[in-house]
Amino acid sequence: MDDAIAEKPSPSVFRVLIIDDSRATRLVIRTFMREFGYETEEAPDGSEAMKFFAAGKSVDLIICDWEMPVMSGIEFVRAFRGSDSASAQTTPIVMSTTLNAVEKISEALEAGATDYIMKPFTKEIFAAKLDLLGIEHK
């Protein structure tokens, strides 16, 4: 019991789920997020991310690629927002993708994405987005 409490992350720790099929991209985003002072979780596609939430886990922010095998980012956004996960309606989702056409951005927002970052990105770009979402960072 005591062990379980000890392993539970502090409620003040901000947790981010990074969904991207590219290990290199996950590494870059993970590095940024840890520099911001956050803990990170990762999934290589939308389907694995859905399993993460189905297991009853939750995060404070989701950063999601669009083009991924098995379940794409846009499919994940629709599935997650439509799920009965406790945080399905409240967790901000930032799409992070090379797709930068107006129609794609519009499609992502309509599906339930909170905001959008176009690749290539930098740490400053993520910092600006976090500021916009009112999320504190180092």
Binding site: N100, A101, V102, I105, S106, A108, L109, A113, D115, Y116, I117, M118, F121, E124, I125, A128, K129, D131, L132, L133, G134
Partner: protein, 285 residues
């Protein structure tokens, strides 16, 4: 060739005298790169040729030219977030009540660089305060450098510019994609008037301002220039107006003029001579 310390000091003095911009030790490489660019613009062979001409006093307005090129151009849409949250949550609603009779609101972004700050204010007003559509809303942007003002006036931004702080819903609503860039729609662009202003010199005629953004300007100036500019800001700000500085920037030394006020996570400054709120009620009696 690395810039000599004598040349760096010469540039530093010329720039400080003209615009109050402080070139700190360690900025030699930055200054050298900017001078290479300036030499190219002036159709000189190199920075060596530039300094040769400088010694012979052959370059007109050289202090101003140097100030333009070394001025900090860093900016982003909705920079830091908090000041714009403060605008939305408190400052604009309060000013709308106080200005209900005159229906006029004035905002100045001093040191606006490529225009993201005044356009962020314009987008915020348009998005959250539709009641202001019948008001005379004036948003002014000023910067010392002509090249950044040209970008500001065009309202044309790269994807990297957009990525830094533009919320996707506002992007879709207010910009059109033009090739790889994004063009701000005229209806927003026309809300902001830009002009070239050297903050260290006498200012052009400007209306009294309800809100002044002087963000990430003071930290690049000499202490003397900072104080002079803040005093002029105090003269331009309406008695119940709001001044926003960059994070970590303060009105140090001018605590008799300004008081600090916290609005949620944002810090702003008010004039100490501001009419207390209760006296407005007194007027109503």
């Amino acid at each position: 060739m690395a810039i000599t310390s004598a040349h760096f000091d010469q540039v530093k003095q010329l720039v400080a005298a003209c615009s109050g911009i402080h070139l700190a030790p360690g900025m030699e490489g930055y200054v050298e790169a900017r001078i290479e660019e300036l030499a190219h613009v002036l159709k000189l062979k190199s920075s060596i040729e530039f300094f040769r001409q400088l010694e012979k006093n052959l370059i007109a307005d050289v202090g101003f030219l140097l100030s333009e090129i070394v001025a900090n151009k860093e900016t982003s849409f909705f920079r830091d977030g908090h000041p714009f949250d403060a605008l939305r949550q408190q400052v604009i609603p309060e000013l709308m009540t106080q200005r209900a009779a005159e229906m006029k609101l004035t905002i100045w972004s001093a040191g606006c660089s490529t225009g993201q700050e005044p356009y962020s204010a314009a987008l915020l007003l348009r998005q959250h305060f539709p009641a202001l559509s019948g008001w005379a809303v004036e948003i002014h942007g000023a910067d010392i450098a002509e090249d950044v003002l040209a970008v500001a006036q065009s309202g044309n931004y790269t994807q990297a510019d957009i990525n830094r702080g533009m919320p996707a819903p506002l992007l879709l609503k207010n910009f059109q994609k033009t090739g790889s860039n994004w063009q701000l729609k005229d209806e927003i662009r026309q809300l902001v008037q830009f002009r070239q202003v050297n903050l260290a010199e006498p200012w052009p005629e400007l209306p009294k301002m309800d809100i002044i953004f002087l963000r990430y300007v003071l930290s690049y100036l000499t202490p003397e220039a900072s104080q002079d500019i803040l005093k002029k800001v105090a003269g331009l700000l309406r008695p119940d107006g709001y001044l926003f500085l960059g994070s970590k920037e303060t009105v140090s030394g001018l605590d008799d003029l300004f008081s600090e006020e916290q609005i949620n996570k944002a810090v702003c400054y008010r004039l100490k001579s501001a009419k207390p709120k209760w006296s407005v009620a007194d007027d109503d009696w």
